[in-house]
Assembly symmetry: C2
Homo-oligomer: 270 residues x 2
């Protein structure tokens, strides 16, 4: 999927919401405890209830890997379900991978060929080598960690380089040379909206994947105010705030309501 | 496994060799093409031929994930095989994960509980949050990327911070506050031996996992000269140079010879 197709879906749904499928079985409602594929059943119900309001889904690999092969099998089932029933949806593997050369190529194959993801999140520490293999796939995306929403972003991301500018800025400047606005996105947390404005200045065209709205304290209005560009340029993610809004048998209904609420906050900006 | 147990094995085998199980089926000898579990069969034969000379094995997750569920199942089989037949061996998941909070905790569970790895490699970009959950397991290790052996290490790792010192140094200094020499190792590539000497100065006690010997051009003698400490402090990895030294039916024999060769270069330093 290229940026025009993504933008078309955003305009159609008047939403730039991504639902994070951090589907942790420990938090599932009781009625899913004894089914054969609890993660898949949970995801299916969440997707059915939220797809009207969401333009993207983002399973975080950790929650699937923690369940071993069974978990990964259900991740595959989820991606297939999305592809089949919601072909317009953008699917992001939140994997934060970082390896090089032929190894990175294998990860690219795993996410783009074995599983049919549109995008993968990547940690940039090792540099260009670790991103390049992902950029060699047409209509697929590398989503590079720039400024994340967590507290420890101060440890390195926000630390200043020799030129007095922070590491995250250097990452963005370098990565803009590696790819373009049709294959590189950046992760920029919602928890530091003033930084979003600053980053938008020197990075006018790329999409930002923005976590940290909801549970972590960021707001849709602030993110929109500082992050929008002429083709929206934002994919705002909420995970727990949607999928675990309720843990009764009404979990999917409640997830739909939460997604609708966020989408309604977004509609006025599209 | 703690550092004393690791050192005991190093002294016993007079080797600090790690065999990288980058087991890519595309490079397997013909005779493995039609077996049910080619990756597992390959790994078993490599392990049987090299275990006398190696103190650690390091499967790189990418090669297993690229094969989907089948690949991951064979990774689990490999770890079980090692645990059962070579209980003294140190097993490193070369996963280069980097996520935070409850997500990182799930990765820790995947590698330390679901699969019984001793250590996981981690990318430090997101800071302490992304390492902490791994340090909460007794006798398990976080192996943090510091200065990697790839060319693009210049992009960020070798870039200078405001104090005129490179990012990799800041990573090491911070990470030494997070853990200790019994739960934190650093990845330091063999391709820049002079840096190994420098890093050993400000990091006297931690083990270094050193890739880049062999195919990438680093030498055991240089690594030993600059990297050894009083409890060895080195785990030197070779992957392709051992496991793909030969692609005939003699692949395991040849791998054993290559491992023996490297171990013999190491013996004089123990």
């Amino acid at each position: 999927m290229n940026s025009d197709e993504l933008y078309r879906q955003i305009k159609k749904k008047r939403s730039f919401l991504c639902v994070g499928l951090d589907s942790d079985p420990a938090l599932f409602p009781q009625l899913l405890k004894n089914v054969q594929y609890p993660i898949f059943e949970f995801n299916k119900a969440i997707i059915a209830a939220t797809a009207k309001y969401a333009i993207a889904y983002k399973p975080n690999l950790a929650f699937y890997e923690a369940e071993g092969n069974e978990g990964l099998h259900q991740l595959e089932m989820t991606v297939e379900f999305l592809r089949k029933n919601y072909p317009e949806i953008f699917i992001i593997a939140d994997a934060k991978r970082s390896d090089i050369g032929n190894t990175a190529q294998r990860y690219a194959r795993a996410f783009f060929e074995k599983m049919n993801f549109d995008a993968v999140t990547l940690a940039p520490y090792m540099g260009y080598d670790s991103v390049k293999p992902f950029l060699e796939y047409k209509d697929k995306w590398a989503v590079i960690l720039a400024l994340t929403s967590n507290k420890s972003a101060v440890d390195f991301e926000l630390a200043n380089m020799e030129n007095g500018e922070p590491l995250y800025k250097r990452v963005i400047e370098e990565a803009m040379k590696w790819g373009n606005a049709d294959n590189v996105m950046f992760v920029v947390g919602a928890t530091r909206p003033e930084k979003l404005a600053e980053i938008r200045q020197y990075c006018p065209d790329n999409f930002f994947l923005v976590p940290g709205v909801g549970a972590q304290g960021g707001s849709v209005d602030e993110v929109a105010k500082y992050g929008l560009n002429r083709k929206c340029g934002l994919i705002v993610n909420s995970s727990r705030g949607i999928i675990f809004a309720d843990n009764s048998e009404r979990y999917a209904v409640k997830a739909g309501e939460k997604a609708a609420e966020l989408a309604s906050q977004m509609a006025k900006y599209i």
